[in-house]
Subunit: 340 residues, 4 copies
């Protein structure tokens, strides 16, 4: 099968290429870009020597036509128009935000502009979601932060063990901000420093978390979300807590997670007493998860580590594509991280 | 005045020396250590060339006698015995945990062993605390995490704007763990990785936070605290939230913080829309603080950055010492950080 | 084929496992350790979830017997004895230094103790070396620094374009020092800091570089080698220079490298004007190489980036094993790095 | 005395301000910028809370007039015009390159455009240079790399112990590249990665090194210089070597350095066997230096660590200003680094 990537010069595009190069069922088709069109891929992705001499095309209907799968790694607001030109015979995978939020008001509040509608949500680990993805021809890849939070708390909400007042504080590597030339993303600024941003409910991933958790809980869930930047290129470490439902014990909590995750290929519940670090998942499509009950504070606390570019973006995308195409879900996706 | 430092080969000891070298009222007296006794200070603190050839003594009553101030940077459980040999004419400053917790049961649960009682708590920014510290002859330096959390949330609790269900997630640089030779503190393990530890109410600083916030609130406050290690040597970034009291607005919240902090020399409320990063306070005795109301989630969210070794340990200690000795509170303490 | 790894709890062992898990011709046999014997592999290599529950054995003849390939990732001085118990039907691959140096005097000077003799040297890119490795039953994996230097300068020496006064300064990630608990390897010490060590000809890899370059040059080559530690977990960036032979031009130099490297699967000569960075090779078995003539100073300057654990150790080992076993040389070895 | 800073929003400007805030003889006058004029300093230098509300002026003759000292931290090519408007009653200190090179041809080759002539070179440690700087009204601050190399090798050349074929490989923190928005300076690119640039004699600091070393040696010295970027914000670690003169021994070499440096306040020759790391000098105006003889390779090898922004730029500038103004040379300059 041939895959095209729109936005191949960015970090998400580079990670998609890294994974597709290791995937036995794909060959790499068109690679497109915006301002980088006309340049060699090697100038942007020097870690992919096999593709160094491929020249980036403009992102147009013509260049993307004729592929089995088209991955869109574009700034938000651009996917709908590109997808409109591609028929249902093409699987279109949007790594951007355009087709995630079901609520037009939330879209309007957090992104602005016209609401593009929703596509099947590419988080197979959500209850019932694999069925939705099977034979899908459009996939909305979840945001990196929502991926982490939904994986961390879904088992608790699905089992009725957690209440609706969720607090999430997540540390992300800087690649989550993309390759944008902003002063606060310079190495000199971020090395040796951790900082917060978009505090107080301002981050665009907040309604996506609430949408997902509310669906699992069967009731509205509110999330207080604070994202932070940590001095690392990759990785998300999300600390997620919610009030414990009456009667929850450490044992019942762990059992609920063990049951929920026992067949999940990519979500790893760590041995008791071991807490996640992002190095466990560097470059892998895995999530490292741990949960406990804070009896003192009466809260369920789940901590999860993922690679924001792999499970949080490109790996999650390929996983959903595998399902949509009827391939084995794990095909071509790394279980091993790169450490130390 | 002559100052001795017990534990001069460690990170807290080194930071005390760095500050005392720049303090106009102190000369450096005895420097002691445990297993490093007999070695040159330069072997442990090569960033302090003025003291490179000083030889470390054993930590004994004799070596510590005859100083105006004795700083104890020792593992917990060792301070009481050392202090007992020093009369009230000596100001003894415990950078360890031994004399922070008023509740023997909390001490027993989190530290174990005999409870050593409390000393005046060295966080001058707490309401009324400067009075307590004036003419103190014993000072318990707060933990680094509690310093950050108490500074971040005290204004809200003092003004009655926050409820008791506090959630704190803090990222710390690795120097907070001291110079202990543990595999998870190796550079190869921590660079590029963020990880959680002591989750679920297990961290020893939890009861200290609750003690301090409860005193300010005038009612019991529970804290769900999750510490994480970020890939940096120094700095704490603490994200602290609590349910907003009824009727709180963004404006009333900011006003409360402005009023509370307007005379504080070291706690800087950032301009609206600017969020703290630890680089703002690197090597400085300052705290960079911001607060907002998450109206969606109904929580007050305060984020604070400090240098765990400066304001979080050695700088906070010197600040309290200045007060106790009747010196200007800011004397010898850096307001400027080192950045980028 | 079944592969055993002695020293599976260390960094080299972990990288071998990461690669073998992705290699289609190997299954993982015995995993052994010294002080970690009896513990779960997951406690040491949490990035390898597939093997988390494997228990480490003691490193004995019995546990290593019955494998097709045995990788030894042991401290130097231990390999000969282990190998002696394994017959020629087993391919034994020494990732340590024991069987690299042909000169007993050099061994004695730099390592001390008895000289164990040499095994076929596992750097296939050296002239004629693939022939040596074909059907080898013992392989000495080169040191990580010599791998980088020999790859960088061999084309120049083979073409007679460089003189014998070589100067190498290399920056290594801290994983090159292994998982040893030494103060200078703590994250707090290495983050934000670059430092030199073993300066002035003292590093053990120096005679190995000289041995390899002298063989290529057909004349004695001396190397002034300075290793440094950079604040990163992985990667070597080696800057290597030698006096330019009379008449060398930038063009003749580049042509010599193009010719020498045109069929090499893993050594990538970068486009003119692009200089290597270790991120290009993170987790990959590749080397990113560039060369130029410093006409001002009259020196050939080659800069190379490799991943010290992949091409510099485990990947280089697997590459040589592929050759020795008659498998395709590139089988199971990543060409793509993980970036950013 | 009043000091103005042109270029106050950049890294060099921020470091000048940090030092001047701690200097007892200076008050901060005009602060100017180019594109940032009109904004608050706090938006650019949040680590300097005392000056957060100062507004940046345009860089004009009018704003810079009426100061005792004017520091120029401007892109090269801009200093001469600004200085022309300031009379000899004002001490003008150029942190840029415009007035360092005596040879117009070298200026033309490496910078292009008109040669602005030379000013007294602000490296007091060079032989006789303190005399030159006393009562100077114009000072050319050395480049950061030349500062490190000249400090490292001058004692050897002054004593006739080293030959002219110098090889320097230096690792710099990213702040050396300033706050320019270039993709390769993004945190995502530099964290975890070391890379080379301007290899083969192309770096502009090369002729400055040669000029300085040749003057000390009394004969032409050629330098093969390779700069690299290390994943850290600050610091230069320079490894400098030159052929050993006949008859040099380790002892004679060390003695020469001890004699040369025994009265230097800021250049610290480390104890034998200890090698420099940049953390020793973080934020300090010091240089940490070590030297040895590589008997195997016949080269003198000196390794030096400095903070590129402190001793390498702003601290070196203030040190020269102290001399020019007749103040104690060490006034207001930190001897202590910030570590870990």
């Amino acid at each position: 099968m041939r895959a095209a990537i729109a936005g191949a010069s960015g970090y998400a595009g580079g990670e998609l290429l890294r994974l597709l190069l290791g995937h036995p069922e794909f060959e790499i088709g068109a690679l497109t870009a915006a301002s980088s069109a006309g340049s060699r891929l090697g100038a942007h992705q020097p870690h992919l020597p096999q593709l160094a001499d491929r020249v980036l095309d403009d992102t147009t209907s013509a260049t993307l036509a004729g592929h089995d799968v088209v991955f869109l790694a574009l700034p938000h607001g651009h996917s709908a128009a590109v997808a409109a030109s591609l028929g249902e015979e093409t699987l279109v995978v949007d790594c951007g935000a355009d087709h995630r939020l079901a609520d037009p008001a939330a879209w309007q509040e957090f992104y602005g502009g016209e609401h593009a509608g929703t596509w099947p949500y590419g988080l197979p680990e959500l209850p019932g979601q694999r069925e939705v993805l099977r034979r899908a021809t459009r996939i909305a890849v979840p945001g990196c932060y929502p991926t982490s939070v939904l994986l961390a708390l879904s088992p608790a909400f699905a089992a009725g063990l957690a209440g609706h007042d969720v607090v999430v504080v997540a540390a992300s590597g800087t690649s989550g901000a993309g390759r944008s030339l902003k002063p606060h993303l310079l190495g000199s600024e971020v090395m040796g420093s951790a900082g917060a941003y978009a505090v107080g409910g301002a981050h665009r991933h907040t309604p996506e978390m609430e949408q997902g958790l509310s669906a699992v809980a069967g009731a509205p869930v509110r999330v207080s979300f604070t994202p932070t930047l940590a001095p690392m290129s990759r990785g998300i470490l999300a600390t997620c807590s919610a009030p414990a439902a009456p009667g929850v014990t450490k044992e019942s909590l762990r059992t609920a997670y063990e049951v929920a995750l026992k067949s999940e290929p990519f979500v790893k519940l760590l041995p008791e007493g071991v807490w996640p670090a992002t190095a466990m998942t560097y470059g892998a499509n895995t999530a490292a998860l741990q949960v406990t009950l804070d009896e003192r504070a009466g809260r369920v606390v789940a901590v999860i580590a993922i690679d924001n570019l792999t499970k949080g973006t490109a790996g999650g995308a390929v996983q959903s594509v595998n399902i949509a195409l009827g391939l084995p879900e794990e095909l071509g996706l790394p279980l091993t991280g790169v450490a130390p």
